[in-house]
């Protein structure tokens, strides 16, 4: 078993005492399942896009929860800082996250 502390990134508190078995699961935001929680690893490049996501609160290091995956084939809805945000499929494909509680 490997104990890993996620670093303090961009003003977030470090996770204390988190235990992982095996490797971290990286995937695209659009591939997350309902109820899964993850931290944002990488936002898509391109100033406007990154700026827009950042101002909504979606930044590298933030924790989010998947509330609804592609409702009626459309955008995904996540909860971040207690707030719901809808993100279009294409954008969500380009955001990489690290899953905390996998529901595979």
């Amino acid at each position: 078993m490997v104990v890993q502390n996620l670093e303090k990134m961009s003003g977030r508190k470090p996770f204390k005492g988190f235990i992982f078995t095996g490797e971290k699961m990286h995937k695209a935001l659009s591939d997350m399942k309902r109820g899964e929680r993850a931290t944002v690893k990488e936002c898509p490049a391109g100033y406007m896009l990154k700026g827009r996501l950042e101002s909504m609160g979606v930044r590298e290091g933030k924790t989010l929860e998947m509330i609804s995956s592609q409702l009626m084939g459309g955008p995904i809805i996540i909860e971040i800082d207690g707030r719901h945000i809808a993100i279009g499929k294409g954008m969500a494909k380009r955001i990489t996250v690290s899953v905390i509680n996998s529901k595979e």
């Binding site: 003003g11 409702l71 009626m72 707030r83 719901h84």
Partner: protein, 572 residues
């Protein structure tokens, strides 16, 4: 002195604005743009100051048109009231830090303070004041609590500490939040559970279906009740005697009589068919259309203020993309059902030229306004529900086909949805009432003159025989392609000015079932009414307007002819 209300979208700036200002509020456009903002006045420290409700922005580094305008407006203000959503402190502080950088005197208002507790959040406002260097007050816009303290705090507005260098902001914000805020887990409230259910894979669409059905039935049944039991009776009891007396005084005929009272049907005044300025001209907008418009705006304002629209937008996003739009463009469409004019103006929220063009063209062609709907329902109801079903399914089908075609042929991208979905809130009823009142007032101010003008012009055209000439000129199309009697041409011409009046003209023509359907569909799709036309031209610009008009013409000819032949072949 100019005081500016600045903050993220959805933080309740408008409610605070309406609490601080009186009744004299002006909505205007920032020069050279389509971005709107509101201005009002406020008394503070014995002085009268101008209060401006600046468009909501997340940052002063603009990512869209509204933010561009907000960024420009900052320079023009003397004092800034930064409205912050207390349940979302971290995200809101970004704008706060940027505003602090400007060095202008500021105060911070932590709004939605009532919800902070139920989220398990505690905020040390004293410490926050220390960190930011500006006065901090807490308010609940909806109940009004704390709003009076804003005026007090304004006296102490001061430039805060410019605390963050560019690029450093989030870590500074993180530090502040850590010092000032604590969050404990709380059980989800009913509203939060409802919010989750609204976007659940099964419950979401189910809830949407229920909401839409309820809205539809409310508008149709309550609207109809208001029409039959209230307004119709008011007209019969109060107005009929007046116009009857007027008619008798004028001897029942003559030019003036025909203009004002219209034709007597069986020796009496019929509000729907007489077609005079004082009879039909008042009856249609006030007794037939207004009740439906009121019910419609009631439901829309309720859904808006509760916060359901973004969720609806998210659910329809996928389908909308197939016709070249994105989810939130459902808002101008929904507005257009009330009246196409505010629907067309709402097209401003769409960022790209392609989306705007598709949305506004679809709006003019496939979204009938409540005035038309009310009249068509009145006209076709006698023939049974089948007629209405055919009319509206044709519109629906047309919108999908037209949308897909336009999406394929128009250059440009449709942007992805990125939408903040606010929590469900109990609406502030005064704010809702004001909203409904303003929309109703707008309807009466804009619709009435056109209705009266329309009836006047049509009466004149008939009297001098021009109508007859035009009808005969167009009759090959009207009779040959559309299967309608030549006189229907008069209705089509009237429809340029007002759709409801035009539908009203069909009533005495004794049209058959099939003809009623074709005529109704034609009136709905061919051109928008004059008022909408004007707004559209401003929104689209000359070139796009021409393209849109060409599409309208082609669609009219094709659909009218096809519908006529299909229905004839079906034996109707």
């Amino acid at each position: 002195m100019k005081i500016q209300l600045m903050g993220n979208p959805n933080v309740g700036k408008s409610v605070i604005f309406s609490r601080l200002t009186g009744t004299h509020v002006v909505a205007s456009n920032y020069s050279g743009t389509t971005v709107e903002f509101k201005k009002g006045s406020l008394r503070t420290g014995g002085e009268k100051a101008e209060l401006v409700d600046v468009p909501g922005s997340y940052t002063l580094q603009p990512t869209n048109r509204a933010e561009e305008v907000a960024a420009k407006m900052v320079a023009e203000g003397d004092i800034i009231i930064n409205v912050i959503d207390a349940t979302n402190l971290e995200r809101n502080l970004m704008l706060t830090l940027q505003l602090l950088e400007t060095g202008k005197p500021m105060i911070a208002v932590l709004n939605m303070w009532d919800e902070v507790l139920e989220h398990g959040i505690t905020i040390d406002t004293g410490k926050l004041e220390e960190e930011l260097g500006i006065p901090v007050v807490t308010t609940c816009g909806i109940s009004g609590e704390g709003v009076s303290s804003i005026k007090e705090a304004l006296k102490n507005a001061r430039p805060g500490k410019p605390i963050a260098k560019k690029g450093d902001e989030w870590s500074v914000i993180g530090d502040i939040v850590e010092k000032v805020q604590k969050i404990e887990h709380r059980h989800p409230t009913i509203r939060q559970k409802l919010a989750h259910a609204s976007v659940h894979p099964f419950m979401g669409p189910a809830i949407a279906g229920i909401v839409l059905l309820f809205s539809f039935f409310f508008v149709v049944y309550v609207g109809d009740w208001l029409h039959e039991e209230v307004l119709d009776k008011i007209f019969d009891i109060l107005w009929l005697p007046v116009v009857t007396m007027l008619s008798n005084v004028m001897g029942g005929e003559g030019l003036l009589h025909n203009m004002l009272i219209g034709q007597l049907i069986d020796g009496a005044i019929d509000f729907e068919e007489s077609f005079g300025l004082l009879t039909t001209g008042l009856f249609i907008p006030l007794a037939v259309v207004m009740p439906f418009i009121f019910c419609f705006y009631f439901v829309l304002s309720l859904l808006e203020d509760i916060g359901y629209l973004p969720r609806l937008g998210t659910m329809v996003d996928n389908v909308m993309h197939k016709i070249g739009l994105h989810g939130f463009s459902i808002v101008p469409m929904l507005l257009g059902i009330g009246c196409n004019v505010p629907g067309a103006m709402a097209g401003r929220i769409l960022e790209t030229r392609k989306e705007k063009f598709i949305a506004l063209t679809l709006l003019s062609i496939c979204v009938p306004c409540m005035a038309q709907i009310a009249m068509v329902v009145a006209l076709l109801a006698q023939a049974g529900v089948a007629g209405l079903a055919i009319v509206f399914s044709t519109l629906f089908l047309l919108s999908i086909i037209l949308g897909i075609v336009m999406k394929a042929f128009i250059r440009g991208e449709t942007p992805e949805l990125l939408l903040d979905i606010p929590p469900y809130r109990v609406p502030y009823w005064k704010s809702m009432a004001k909203k409904i009142y303003m929309r109703m007032r707008g309807y009466i101010r804009e619709a009435m003159p056109y209705v009266l003008l329309g009836i006047l012009i049509i009466n004149i055209l008939y009297t001098i025989g021009v109508m007859d000439l035009l009808s005969r000129f167009f009759s090959p199309v009207i009779t040959g392609l559309f299967g309608l009697p030549g006189e229907a041409g008069g209705a089509l011409i009237a429809g340029f000015l007002r759709k409801d009046v035009a539908v009203g003209m069909l009533a005495p023509m004794g049209l058959g079932f099939r003809q009623l359907i074709v005529a109704s569909v034609l009136l709905m799709i061919y051109f928008p009414c004059a008022a909408t036309f004007v707004v559209l031209s401003k929104e689209l610009g000359a070139r796009d307007m021409l393209k849109s008009t060409a599409i309208m013409l082609i669609v009219t000819l094709v659909v009218g002819t096809l519908l006529n032949f299909i229905l004839t072949a079906a034996g109707l």
